[in-house]
């Protein structure tokens, strides 16, 4: 068994404002491994960012241990930490005139001499980072002239160029479109496996995370940190700790979040895929449950109900609502 890159034991974190002490998370236990993509999930305000801050050495723990590569975080200097750990933060400040190549080269800051001149190794590292993130073609583009998704990849490339064993990303897919979200998460998975890095991603994209993560950390108020393989957390129902309210629960069949009130009493016949989506539409429109049978026909699409035929779902739903 290999050693974990980051270990938290009985870790308690909080802030101090004057005499007021505010505890944020209590007695967390976790281990982060190299070669794995770990996703940290949990609602806003539960202490995810606080935990990240502590790992970055910016917040001394109140209690417990926090070890990075077997060393207590507080004993590591800023540059030692920079050599073991690279980050992509949520801070949106970017100098527009900087090129992607310059941004990625900044990842080498901790390795270069006082002038910051890039040596042979540094240039190779920059090149590798650009090719791993598949943005080599953007090298001379300015940050103000590329898309949000490309910029996020450039930020990941910068972190990669830092050549550290651990990568930490705070919501790297927020504000991105669906394709970019998938692309970036798969990219991170690829990086963790290929480069044998320990990658920790804070995310709210549960469905994408289930598909890509090797390990889940679930953090929520009042419970200890739950960790495990995502699929296992789904089977055991522990994933529902993410959804503590009465309203939603995690649908094990479909692998997605569902309203709890959704019932299966509709009498719909036809192709299973068609049945599923027609039922969803009816539930969303909040039409009353019908006693009669609904038949869904494929090509051309039509819905037959009590002797009537409807060509679109919109017609059918407005008929049911009027009824």
């Amino acid at each position: 068994m290999k050693n974990p890159s980051i270990i938290g034991r009985n870790l308690t974190l909080g802030y101090q404002k004057g005499k007021l002490l505010k505890e944020v998370v209590e007695s967390l236990d976790f281990e982060l491994y190299a070669g794995e993509l770990t996703c940290l999930l949990g609602p806003n305000g539960v202490g995810k960012s606080t935990l990240i801050k502590a790992i970055l050495g910016q917040l001394p723990p109140w209690n417990g241990e926090l070890l990075i590569d077997q060393k207590e975080v507080s004993t590591l200097s800023i540059s030692e930490l920079a050599k073991t750990l690279a980050v992509v933060l949520t801070d949106p400040v970017f100098p527009g005139n900087m090129t992607v190549g310059q941004l990625v080269a900044l990842g080498r800051v901790v390795h270069t001499d006082w002038t910051g001149r890039l040596g042979k190794d540094d240039k190779i590292a920059v090149k590798n980072a650009l090719s791993l993130t598949k943005i080599g073609y953007l090298e001379n583009e300015r940050l103000s002239e590329i898309s949000d998704g490309q910029r996020q990849k450039a930020m990941i490339a910068r972190a990669l160029a830092q050549d550290s064993g651990i990568l930490i990303l705070d919501e790297p897919t927020a504000h991105l479109d669906l394709v970019n979200r998938y692309e970036i998460m798969h990219l991170l998975r690829e990086i963790s496996h290929k480069e044998n890095k320990a990658v920790l991603v804070v995310t709210h994209d549960l469905e994408i995370a289930i598909e890509t993560a090797d390990q889940f950390w679930i953090l929520n108020c009042g419970i200890p940190l739950i960790s495990g393989i995502p699929e296992e957390l789904v089977i055991s129902g522990k994933i529902n700790h993410l959804l503590p309210g009465e309203k939603f629960h995690f649908d094990v069949d479909k692998g997605r979040i569902k309203k709890k009130s959704e019932k299966d009493n509709w009498k719909i016949i036809g192709d299973p895929v068609y049945r599923y989506w027609v039922k969803k539409a009816l539930e969303k429109a909040e039409v009353n449950l019908q006693e009669s049978q609904i038949q869904v026909n494929q090509s051309p699409f039509s819905v037959e109900f009590e002797g009537k035929s409807f060509a679109t779902l919109r017609d059918f739903i407005s008929f049911l609502i009027k009824k």
Partner: protein, 342 residues
């Protein structure tokens, strides 16, 4: 921009600097041709001995002073803008010029109030020492505050407030002082590159070189700071160390220049932006030399304009830099993608 073309631009700027230096020395109440200056300086052949006197004892020290002040103020401004991530930061945001002003104000105004009657023949060394003491005092107090606060934005606000408070003290002093002393102080506060002798110029040269050292040591850190403090820290840069180096460097540069020449506005704010626009770069390895050379050129030109060639009258340097600097800053702010380019 490719590295080679950046260097080419720098070389062009250096040639421009030499030209503006010669033009600056040649223009004035008596126009002396550039060939005569060159032959006079290298072989000692002056057509008139009065020309030798004017060039060697008056115009050369003044032109060198313009270069020193231009370099120092621009480099201070660039450091402040990058450190505070604020395009409107300048060398005086930490209240250093106000501190210098306070020192000189106390010297001129208080001494006249006490009836010491310094009159118009005030010793230039006296203002320099008073200005240095004032700037140093403010620097020490700002540092004490900086010790306590972690957030750089708070430091910026504290610095600005400090400047206002010190200016208020100067206003109170002015209110109670006589017309003669008030005029001397007002003239000082308009800035002047003239009236200094070689001795003072060489002292300032030494101080400016001293002030540049902390900046040279932190070029890499300033590049990292472009992504903000959190990223800089994650890349192995210690923001607290950088903050002290920044306070030290800008304190020495801006403080000494204000003490020797009086407050000179706008150069420190406008020149770093000009350098970014011309060089289209954010790399401080380019921006520092670029700002230094541009600052020197701009101040030489401003000074030449202020001489009003052919007339015995001169305009105060602060007024000229503001007249040129204000349109530059306004056009920058009006420029559409100004914030993106910063």
């Amino acid at each position: 921009m490719k590295k080679n073309s950046s260097t080419t631009y720098l070389l062009v700027a250096l040639i421009l600097l030499i030209f503006s230096f010669l033009i600056n020395v040649s223009l004035g109440s008596v126009s002396i041709s550039i060939p005569e200056i060159v032959s006079g300086m290298f072989s000692g052949n002056w057509t008139k001995s009065s020309h030798e006197q004017i060039i060697l004892n008056y115009r050369l020290p003044k032109a060198i002073l313009a270069i020193l002040a231009g370099v120092g103020l621009s480099i201070s401004g660039l450091q402040m803008q990058t450190f505070f991530r604020n395009p409107l930061a300048g060398p005086f945001v930490l209240g250093i010029s106000s501190g210098s002003g306070l020192g000189v104000a106390i010297l001129i105004l208080a001494s006249s109030a006490l009836g010491l009657g310094m009159g118009s023949g005030i010793n230039p060394w006296a203002t320099v020492i008073a200005g240095t003491l004032g700037a140093g005092l403010v620097l020490v107090i700002v540092s004490l505050v900086a010790w306590r606060i972690k957030d750089s934005m708070t430091l910026l606000i504290v610095g600005l407030m400090f400047g206002s408070a010190v200016s208020a003290v100067i206003s109170v002093l002015s209110y109670f002082s006589g017309a003669e002393a008030l005029k001397i102080f007002t003239v000082w506060s308009m800035g002047s590159l003239g009236g200094l002798v070689w001795e003072q110029v060489s002292v300032l040269t030494f101080i400016i070189l001293l002030g540049i050292i902390p900046m040279v040591l932190s070029i890499k850190s300033y590049n990292a700071m472009l992504l903000g403090e959190s990223y800089a820290r994650s890349m192995g840069i210690n923001p607290t160390r950088l903050r002290w180096l920044m306070i030290l460097s800008t304190g020495i540069l801006a403080g000494s220049i204000t003490a020797f020449c009086g407050p000179i506005a706008f150069i420190g704010i406008a020149v770093p932006h000009l350098a970014r626009m011309v060089w289209k770069s954010v790399d401080h390895r380019i921006l520092f030399p670029a700002s230094a050379v541009l600052g020197a050129i701009l101040l030489l030109i401003c000074d030449a304009i202020g001489q009003i060639p052919g007339s015995a009258q001169t305009l105060p340097i602060n007024a000229v830099t503001s007249l040129i600097g204000a349109p530059i800053v306004i056009s920058l702010v009006l420029k559409k993608n100004f914030s993106k380019e910063f």
